[in-house]
């Protein structure tokens, strides 16, 4: 039987080459995204990194201990541990060599947002080594970690909490993955950041421990040294964007590939129905025919999937390069050929091919030989019951999911990563139902052609008669255009809603924000507070860990420490429980979804662990509606827990002089690493940046899927071309020139494509309508835009691919006169 299977493989070379190609490339891109996803969703590094060569690190407490639901203690790292007490620093000096370590915000102009400053002497126990230049010899010299060698000798401006400073770059080191460092001379570092964050002690561990006894300091050795580092997740935080993108890509790509491969393999079997009937007449049982076709598909799929996996490993370099170049992934990211994602990709491809074959061959094998031989080549039911049921189920799930988001979890409509299910389900459902839906659409589209004579008649009847082929072309068009239109439009809507929500939630006139990931120095805060005729609200981001009775951990909230009156003057949170009036000195305001998640109600008393580990009692004073920003939390201005302000919002007082306020603000931030903008322009700039980023991500994620869909369209048409030989010869014999024949083929393909686009439009409209309902209930109205350029570009690509391929394939394959009867 295998020999027969192999022999038929040889005969249907064009079809099988198409199926093989589709599966190989499909598995390759699944493997590419799966490998990348595996690489970005696991920690890149283990154990202490910056302190890897430090024997002992002495710090103030770096963890907060709370109890989990079972009452067992659990340690949480502090985001801003307190500085080491001067007594402890003093006591350590007697134990042997010690190096005081400081970490503070220090941004070189034009450098990365998250640069931090350290004293140069700490470079000794960290992985930094000079690659050019020399150590800082004076207080005006710095070494830039991971800086370009050309920087050496030049002068740069560095922003710290103390303002701007001019420094000469004395040297640069090789980059380190866990931070972007700027090294200052020790004395200069002490001037910029007087507090000592940690001391690295080289003396005997026992005497180090003895020395700090009673000072509250903690001596970290071995694996515990990790607790003193900024990045304790082995780089996972830096991979979060990449993980989101790879996850979304993986889902979308797997969906499109599985879909197309199933359809392609099913198409191959459909093309062979006559041959299968023939085998039935010479004594093959239905089971034998099915097994033979499945064996063929299996053989082919094993080869194609394996080849695809091998190609996928090579392709990871391309995706990695793109993500690094566009700042989605850090440059240290390595994508290795791991076995598990490859095995998954292999079996996904194999399974899709076998399923596609099985569904059709099961039906084809059941047909009685006489019936099968009689059946005309066309006019066959294009849709299998399995396909229709599955399509219906996908549509129903999509509608249900869409309704669930609109009715409750509206925030997830803001993120394509979370909302992706809806477009995938709705567009997928429509694509599956294409054979059923394409007929009425075609009939409607072809109606105007009725009066245009014989040519139009041939095209119309051809498209309707060969419903299977029409549906086969239209299906990938539905996928490509539907997903493209839905994703691009939904993404824009999410951005617009986000901007509208932010606008609605703020009443400030001016916003001052720290440059990059830096902070606003206290001098600037004081100067801004002194501006007359304005209410000034200083926002300090403080991550708080909430605990209930018996120190039971409830959850972590990204809150702002802010004065209650200043908050009321500059922001307008929609209160849904409790009251924002008379907040007092122990208030906690948080959004309803977070409150629900933590299990707290208005009026409850909780404890909050501040960034430096201080624990304070709070009262849940009010709950706000969950809005575009997701979680919201406010605590009194006193509870910054060592964190520094990053944003100041200014509201011009009633009857105040806006121009004077603006001028005073400009003066206050002159020559400071603080950006002053009007609220409107800041929001516009943020929206534009958001738009740019998300379009880039969506474009990339969707681009992979689109490329594959285009291939599927071309593939189907090449595979279908030989089947038309007889039909087109008949046209030629009836007096059509070769040119006319090609025009017919092109027109028929256009009709199929347009039918696909119409269905895609319907699916995309359903996605966007559902999302809009969700977003409207979240933020009220927002302007609706359809990115027509992108949508039309995708449509045009599909049309050009379809028409081009069908004409070229027809020309090449259907050259000669009518073939003799077989």
């Amino acid at each position: 039987m295998i020999r027969i299977a192999l022999a038929t493989l040889r005969n249907r070379a064009a079809s099988y080459a198409g199926a093989f190609l589709a599966l190989t490339l499909g598995t390759a891109i699944i493997a590419m995204t799966a490998l990348t996803l595996a690489a970005v969703s696991s920690a890149g590094f283990h154990g202490p990194q910056r302190y890897a060569q430090a024997p002992a690190v002495v710090t103030a407490p770096v963890t907060l201990t709370l109890k989990d639901d079972d009452g067992d203690p659990r340690e949480f790292p502090l985001s801003r541990p307190k500085p080491l007490s001067p007594q402890a620093v003093q006591a350590l000096s007697g134990t042997g060599r010690t190096v005081p370590d400081r970490t503070f915000s220090a941004q070189v102009t034009g450098g990365p947002d998250d640069q931090v400053g350290h004293p140069w002497s700490t470079a000794a126990f960290t992985p930094y080594r000079l690659v050019k230049g020399h150590a800082p010899a004076s207080s005006r010299e710095i070494v830039v970690g991971g800086g370009a060698p050309e920087l050496v000798g030049g002068t740069v401006r560095v922003a710290t909490g103390a303002g701007f400073g001019e420094y000469t770059v004395a040297g640069v080191t090789a980059p380190a993955w866990f931070e972007h460092a700027v090294f200052f001379a020790d004395a200069e570092a002490a001037r910029l950041s007087p507090q000592v964050n940690a001391v690295v002690a080289y003396g005997p561990a026992a005497s180090v421990r003895a020395a700090v006894q009673g000072t509250g300091a903690r001596v970290l050795t071995g694996g515990d040294r990790l607790l003193a580092e900024r990045d304790q997740n082995g780089g996972r935080d830096q991979l979060r964007d990449a993980e989101g993108m790879a996850g979304t890509s993986m889902m979308l790509v797997a969906f499109v590939v599985v879909f197309v491969v199933i359809a392609t393999f099913a198409f191959v079997v459909e093309q062979r129905r006559r041959e299968m009937a023939l085998l039935r007449t010479v004594g093959a049982t239905p089971g034998q025919v099915r097994r033979m076709v499945l064996a063929e598909a299996f053989l082919l799929a094993v080869l194609a999937s394996a080849l695809g996996c091998a190609a996928g490993v090579r392709l990871t370099g391309v995706l990695r390069g793109w993500m690094v170049d566009h700042g989605v992934a850090p440059s240290w990211l390595q994508v290795d050929a791991r076995p598990v994602p490859l095995v998954i990709s292999f079996f996904l491809g194999l399974l899709a091919a076998v399923i596609g074959t099985a569904v059709v061959s099961w039906r084809a094998g059941r047909v009685r030989p006489a019936e099968a031989l009689r059946e005309a080549a066309g006019r066959r039911r294009a849709a299998t019951p399995v396909r229709l049921v599955l399509g219906g189920v996908l549509l129903a799930l999509g509608v249900q999911k869409s309704a669930a988001v609109a009715g409750g979890d509206q925030v997830s409509a803001l993120s394509m990563q979370n909302y992706l299910f809806v477009p995938v389900l709705l567009v997928g459902g429509c694509a599956l139902l294409t054979p059923l839906l394409v007929r009425p659409v075609l009939a409607a589209l072809a109606w105007p052609l009725r009066r245009l004579g014989a040519g139009a008649m041939v095209v119309r009847e051809g498209a309707l008669f060969a419903g299977r082929r029409t549906a086969a072309v239209a299906t990938p068009v539905v996928l490509a255009v539907g997903l493209g239109a839905a994703l691009f439009t939904a993404q824009d809507a999410a951005n617009a809603a986000n901007a509208a929500g932010l606008r609605a939630g703020s009443s400030a006139d001016y916003v001052l924000s720290a440059q990059g990931d830096g902070e606003i120095g206290s001098a600037v805060v004081d100067r801004v507070r002194a501006v007359k005729g304005a209410t000034v609200a200083v926002y300090t981001p403080a991550e708080v860990r909430l605990s209930g009775d018996g120190d039971r951990y409830l959850g972590t909230l990204s809150a702002f420490a802010v004065d209650a009156g200043e908050l009321a003057a500059t922001r307008r949170p929609a209160v849904v429980g409790g009251s924002m009036g008379r907040l007092g000195g122990d208030f906690l305001v948080l959004d309803r979804d977070s409150a629900r998640e933590f299990g707290v109600r208005t009026g409850d008393r909780v404890r909050a662990g501040l960034p430096d580990g201080t624990s304070v009692p709070l009262r849940v004073a009010a709950q706000t509606r969950t809005t575009v920003t997701g979680e919201i939390g406010y605590v009194p201005a006193a509870f910054t827990g060592g964190a520094r302000p990053t944003q100041i919002e200014v509201k011009v007082a009633a009857g105040g002089d806006a121009t004077a306020v603006a001028a005073a603000l400009r003066a206050a931030v002159r020559d400071q690493p603080v950006r002053l903008s009007t609220r409107a322009s800041l929001l516009d700039a943020e929206q534009a940046e958001q738009q740019r980023k998300t379009r880039l991500a969506t474009g990339n994620v969707f681009g992979i899927a689109l490329a594959f869909a285009l291939l599927a369209i071309a593939n189907t048409l090449v595979m279908a071309a030989p089947d038309r030989r007889r039909e087109l010869s008949a046209l030629t014999l009836a007096g059509a020139t070769r040119r006319t024949t090609l025009t017919f083929v092109a027109a028929e393909t256009v009709v199929a494509t347009v039918a696909g686009v119409v269905l895609a439009g319907a699916a995309a409209a359903a996605v966007v309508a559902g999302q809009r309902a969700a977003l409207t209930s979240l933020v009220g109205g927002f302007p609706m835009t359809v990115p027509w350029t992108s949508v039309l570009a995708v449509t045009a690509l599909c049309a050009v691919t379809a028409v081009g391929t069908s004409v070229v394939a027809t020309r090449l394959l259907v050259g000669g006169p009518a073939p003799r009867g077989e």
């Binding site: 093959a284 009685r368 006489a370 077989e822």
Partner: protein, 245 residues
């Protein structure tokens, strides 16, 4: 001459189409095909002759009535059981040859044996081909052979399982007159030399004249028979039948 009955068809009806446009292809036909004889079935187009053959050979199902092959009733067999019975006991030759285009002549002939799970002996397969004068064509694919050669491969394939009955549906329909004569002579020899039972549908009076008996069908019913046919007698009967419609 007393002979055993190989295929017995009793009160068989078969209709095509849906409610609005029903066509009765067979309308209560009863007929018996004797063993070791060559029977031709003739009739105007649409008379149901191909349907009769397909029902008798078990590649189509009847709506009512009984089909019995060498004592086995076909109606109650499952699709798989029916296929196995066909594979072992029936050979079928089509007008359109129905060879598998991707397989060589030898592979096509071996196919029914392979499907039956037997290991085809090359000697047997080659003997079957040789007997039909295809010794030179063993390695050729259908596309590389003439119509007559293809039909002879099809006959070799039908005979390779040594079937009790050979059914032939317009075996000369796609052949020129010389090839037709060759194929018909071959079938006649099979009956005379090896006692093969053959049931053949044809519309060609010359082909029919090779049979022992011609059975006439019109509008799904038996419309007479003719022993020891000659082309002229057959043509006269057919012309008469067509005229009566």
């Amino acid at each position: 001459m007393k002979t055993d009955v190989m295929v017995r068809i009793s009160q068989v009806s078969k209709t095509y189409g849906r409610r609005d446009n029903r066509v009765a292809a067979l309308d209560g036909v009863s007929v018996a095909f004797p063993a070791g004889r060559f029977t031709a079935v003739m009739g105007p187009s649409g008379s149901g002759k191909s349907t009769l053959l397909q029902c008798a050979a078990g590649i189509d199902r009847v709506d009512a009535g009984e089909v019995e092959l060498a004592g086995t009733a076909l109606n109650r067999l499952s699709e798989s059981a029916l296929t196995k019975l066909r594979r072992d006991r029936i050979g079928f030759v089509f007008q359109a040859f129905n060879l598998v285009p991707s397989l060589t002549a030898r592979q096509n002939v071996a196919l029914p044996l392979m499907l039956a799970g037997r290991r085809p002996k090359r000697r047997d397969v080659d003997a079957a081909l040789d007997r039909l004068g295809l010794a030179e064509r063993r390695r050729h694919r259908p596309g590389e052979m003439s119509g007559g050669q293809q039909q002879r491969v099809a006959i070799a394939r039908a005979l390779v399982t040594r079937p009790q009955v050979l059914f032939a549906d317009e075996p000369t329909g796609a052949l020129d007159s010389r090839s037709s004569r060759e194929v018909m002579t071959l079938l006649r020899e099979l009956v005379d030399r090896e006692g093969q039972t053959i049931v053949m549908v044809t519309h060609d009076p010359v082909a029919a004249s090779f049979a022992d008996e011609v059975l006439f069908l019109a509008d799904g019913r038996i419309a007479g028979s003719l022993e020891a046919p000659t082309p002229d007698l057959v043509a006269a009967r057919i012309t008469k039948l067509e005229g009566e419609r």
